[in-house]
């Protein structure tokens, strides 16, 4: 059953649950962060509206820098601004930032120890009709491998807003993973959020399998848990901070459930599931299944079609849980 301490959306399983894009919460959070701290600035590579940075630009035109279609410059200019005391947010599509500008992020931001915040919009396969070139399903892997980098993948627009406000107060580089499409709003303004803290969203007394999800697919994991109710007991964790990993919570879930399924809109190699596996291999090895893109590229389609095609929907999660339970 849903964890009542988290004060989740009461209409979470209703058909008419409110939906909004995760990137929208980022845009609103950036304005709030800008109101709190005059050193917060935003830089964008010609995608101001689709990254929702236009909200900040309208409110603080003098603290916004239009870089043009030049993501490598975007990353390093932000590093220079951080050197002068600014808290820069850089925004583009995840495929281009941190995709195209990975080395600039690694060297001029992380190695250089500058607190630049990288917001990658349009991450995941659910970008939809734009096709495989624009569907970043490698971004978690390439950011979490960088020393000092914090990696956050919010589950909905409200959590994205809270994460944005929280990460503006950190002194490290951060990658914030955002999605394009409208997705269900599971949390409320009263749901607690802390960087580095995982949450058990669906509780169970005697779970047979633990499901760890990140991003909007948390909703699919919750739908699976509900459908499995009375058949297979599961617990569902929202792992929105992928790095630093909440090892204590992950190990505790592995001990309690004995088996783990990870769910992410990302390649199964090197992503959140990989981070969980690295932790459990050392501390408490258990059997695992990885829901995600299985080492292939995306294509055009509607978000729902693509989630189903690449095996990341409710059905695939239920199958993974059942097959693990039988072993």
């Amino acid at each position: 059953m849903l964890n009542s301490n988290l004060k989740l959306n009461k209409k979470i399983f209703d058909k008419d649950i409110e939906q909004a894009p995760i990137r929208k919460g980022f845009g609103e959070g950036l304005v709030s962060a800008g109101e709190e701290n005059p050193q917060v600035v935003a830089l964008c590579a010609d995608l101001t509206e689709s990254s929702q940075t236009h909200l900040f630009k309208e409110k603080f035109p003098n603290r916004f820098v239009e870089i043009g279609v030049a993501e490598q410059n975007l990353a390093s200019v932000a590093s220079g601004m951080a050197a002068m005391g600014k808290i820069p947010f850089i925004t583009s599509y995840a495929m281009f930032s941190p995709g195209r500008n990975w080395e600039q992020i690694r060297t001029t931001i992380a190695y250089n120890n500058r607190p630049v915040k990288i917001a990658g919009s349009h991450a995941g396969i659910s970008v939809g009709p734009d096709g495989g070139t624009h569907q970043a399903v490698e971004d978690i892997a390439i950011t979490r491998v960088i020393p000092r980098m914090v990696v956050i993948s919010p589950c909905d627009t409200i959590e994205a807003k809270k994460a944005t406000i929280a990460l503006a107060k950190t002194d490290t580089p951060v990658y914030l993973r955002l999605a394009r499409e409208k997705t269900p709003i599971m949390t409320t303004i009263d749901t607690p959020f802390e960087i580095g803290k995982a949450q058990i969203v669906w509780e169970s007394k005697n779970p047979k399998v633990g499901i760890i999800a990140t991003g909007a697919l948390l909703y699919k994991a919750l739908e699976a848990a509900k459908e499995l109710e009375g058949k297979v007991e599961v617990e569902v964790m929202n792992l929105s901070t992928i790095k630093p990993l909440d090892e204590k919570a992950v190990i505790a879930l592995a001990k309690k459930a004995g088996k783990i399924v990870t769910v992410e809109e990302h390649q199964v190699h090197g992503g959140m599931g990989g981070a969980v596996a690295e932790c459990l291999a050392i501390n408490f090895p258990v059997q695992m299944k990885f829901i995600g893109v299985q080492d292939e590229f995306g294509q055009s389609g509607t978000p729902d079609e693509l989630i189903e095609h690449y095996g990341m929907g409710k059905k695939a999660i239920i199958e993974a849980v059942k097959s693990l339970k039988q072993t």
Binding site: R63, Q72, N73, G80, M81, A83, N112
Partner: protein, 287 residues
């Protein structure tokens, strides 16, 4: 502010000391770059002993000018100049590239906080300098400090430079000065054979920069160029400094094979003798 003859002589002496230190460092390190550092000594000496607003005893002084070294591989000249300017003991120079040294093979500000940036991978220094200049414009601090960025010419093959050049031109960053070490060599050969850059000054002009071309070994010209840049209101300034790679040691000059290797014992001995006798002008060789 015109530079006095006395000051020029003083900087020339400092430059010779810095060249000696560079040879000493590279010999001890047994790896590193020789040509670029020697070629840029006169410019670094003029900056640190005349042009820059800085305080070696207070490296975190907020009003200091910022110097971003983009082509990090020429760091022996940066380290040696900083040591001679008083940032740290000249003796520390011999730790270059050694385990635990603050003087990493390519600059890393985690190890030496007086550095403005870490660098090595080419093509990203100018972007950082542009970011600094934009931040200072935002805060109206562009009147109290200036941003300098040192670039190699081979480095300009990297496309990111031109993204930064475009942005600086767009934002009219008159608080920014880029210096291109036009020594015509890169690792694989001469720049015009590897990837032609000419007409280099036209390229910068086309991106709305003010261009000054100088002899990079003439202290008076160097100092005047930095002074002139301060008077340019509408644009960022680039100083294209024509330099001789390996300058100061005849055997090393203009030979691209000295881009990325250090001198061996005999070569260093010969180089030090040439530098210590001011190219044979004086007889006695001082230690």
């Amino acid at each position: 502010m015109d530079i006095s003859d006395e000051k020029i002589l003083d900087i020339e002496k400092k430059a010779n000391d810095i060249r000696i230190s560079i040879i000493d460092m590279l010999l001890e390190a047994k790896s590193g770059h020789t040509a670029g550092p020697l070629g840029m000594v006169d410019i670094f000496a003029t900056l640190y002993f005349h042009t820059l607003k800085h305080n070696p005893k207070k490296p975190d002084w907020s009003e200091r000018d910022r110097l971003v070294l983009s082509n990090g591989h020429i760091c022996p000249v940066l380290y040696a100049t900083m040591a001679h300017a008083g940032y740290f003991d000249v003796k520390e120079l011999k730790t270059l590239r050694k385990f635990g040294s603050r003087l990493q093979g390519h600059p890393h500000r985690d190890f030496l906080p007086a550095l403005e940036t870490s660098s090595g991978p080419l093509g990203s220094g100018l972007s950082q300098a542009v970011g600094m200049a934009i931040a200072d414009k935002m805060d109206h601090k562009d009147g109290e400090r200036r941003i300098y960025c040192m670039l190699g010419d081979g480095e300009l093959d990297e496309g990111q430079n031109w993204e930064a050049v475009m942005l600086a031109g767009k934002n009219r960053l008159n608080n920014l000065v880029a210096v291109v070490d036009r020594n015509n060599i890169q690792i694989d050969g001469f720049t015009e054979d590897i990837m032609p850059l000419e007409s280099l000054s036209d390229k910068w002009r086309a991106f709305n920069w003010f261009v000054i071309e100088i002899d990079g070994h003439n202290i008076e010209e160097i100092a005047d160029a930095f002074e002139k840049a301060k008077a340019i209101y509408e644009k960022p300034t680039v100083i294209i400094a024509h330099t001789i790679p390996g300058k100061g040691v005849k055997e090393f000059e203009r030979d691209y094979r000295w881009h990325g290797k250090p001198p061996n014992k005999d070569e260093a001995k010969m180089a030090l003798q040439e530098l210590r006798t001011l190219g044979g002008k004086i007889k006695s060789e001082h230690e």
